[in-house]
Amino acid sequence: MNAPHDPAMLDDVAVYALGSLPASDAERVRAHLATCAVCRAELHALQPAVTSLAASAEQSPGALLKARVMRTVRADAQAHAVPAKKQPSVWPAYFVAAACFAIALISTLVNLSLVGQLRQAQTKVAQIDSNSSGLARSLAQERATLADIMDDKAQRFPVSGGEVIRVHDKLYITLHDVPAPPRGKVYQAWTLAKGAKLMSPSLTFVPDRHGVAVISLPVDARQTAAVAVSVEPDGGSKQPTSTPTFVVSIG
């Protein structure tokens, strides 16, 4: 049922394809398209050009958007996960034999399971034992550190946010008011051996949430002339890359 083609409608068809006609005009064009093959062909010719416009606008959103979307989708997928289908039941003639077999099988499985559980329990006990030993070592170490830094004979060197403490051959940095380092950065200690011209890299650390850090430096305090701390990239540096937060001479 083709109506006579009206060339004046072609421009309206183009605006309709672009999605830029108001509702009342769009209705009129739709009615015309239903009866005019020429205008339908024009619409079909122009539509790919219209949809192609979207490709010219491609942009990347923030990376967190995908995480938000996928968290919702994966949670929903998990909530609607279909459990595995049950196997069809066995014909009754074989029921008793099957039941006996099942009982034997279950007994075996139970035994295997008990053996497995026993081994798991043994592994857990060994782990707990190992953890306890580690914890005891760590506590002993902390007690020794505490005793050192409280020692009356300790030499204390005030630095920004705390002090460097020398006790016999031990060397500690104790900080109590240090801001968290910037993202991707850590604090790094540096030591200068007596007679040396360059600082040597030492431990990296970050303060706890209260701004406290206690670091035991792995050097002989008697052979050390100075201690410094600077902010470095995560993982530490071989040479300081920023102005030290403090440098203190202890020699």
Partner: protein, 178 residues
């Protein structure tokens, strides 16, 4: 790419989150780009992108075949139009209708487009044709509003839109012809 999308959508219908993620990776830039261009607001564009893709996940049967990219662009544009409609500054304006549905052949043509080629083709159009086309598609306004804003007679705007679209189609020929 389109065949892949159809297969992925079949898996999405059976709640396959990995298939959904593959679709997201392929098409999220298109959806976000259209929404951002129309709304001019990154946060609102992200909301639209999230809503569009979660709709794909929760109601995959809304996609009834054809080219997935062309379909999701229509969904993104229509959603963005809804947001424009809800904004106070647009309440006094008559907003355009949604994009008309395309048939599978036109959709298929869309599958071979890439952004760079379209930007080049658009750039070759005279500004007097490119401007009303972009305003119409991304601006979410009617041709009457375009005429009012530009001070150009309505009939001229319509003719420029048609001429520009035909040129764009010709520029993209070989890409957009099946």
């Amino acid at each position: 790419m389109n065949q892949d999308a159809e297969l992925l959508m079949a898996r999405v219908r059976s709640r396959d989150a990995d298939a959904f993620e593959a679709l997201y990776d392929e098409y999220h830039r298109l959806v976000y780009g259209v929404a951002l261009r129309m709304l001019g607001d990154a946060s609102a564009a992200e909301d639209i992108t999230q809503a569009v893709f979660l709709k794909v996940w929760s109601a995959p049967d809304l996609f009834r075949g054809g080219n997935f990219g062309a379909w999701i662009v229509r969904v993104a544009r229509n959603r963005s139009l809804d947001t424009l409609r809800s904004r106070a500054s647009h309440q006094e304006l008559e907003l355009p209708e949604s994009l008309p549905e395309a048939d599978a052949m036109e959709d298929e043509a869309f599958a071979r487009l890439d952004g760079e080629r379209v930007r080049e083709a658009l750039g070759r159009l005279p500004a007097e044709q490119r401007q009303p086309i972009e305003l119409g598609f991304f601006g979410g306004i009617t041709h009457e509003e375009i005429a009012r804003r530009t001070g150009i007679p309505l009939g001229t705007i319509k003719t420029r839109i048609r001429t520009g679209l035909r040129k764009l189609r010709t520029s993209l020929d070989g890409v957009v012809t099946a």
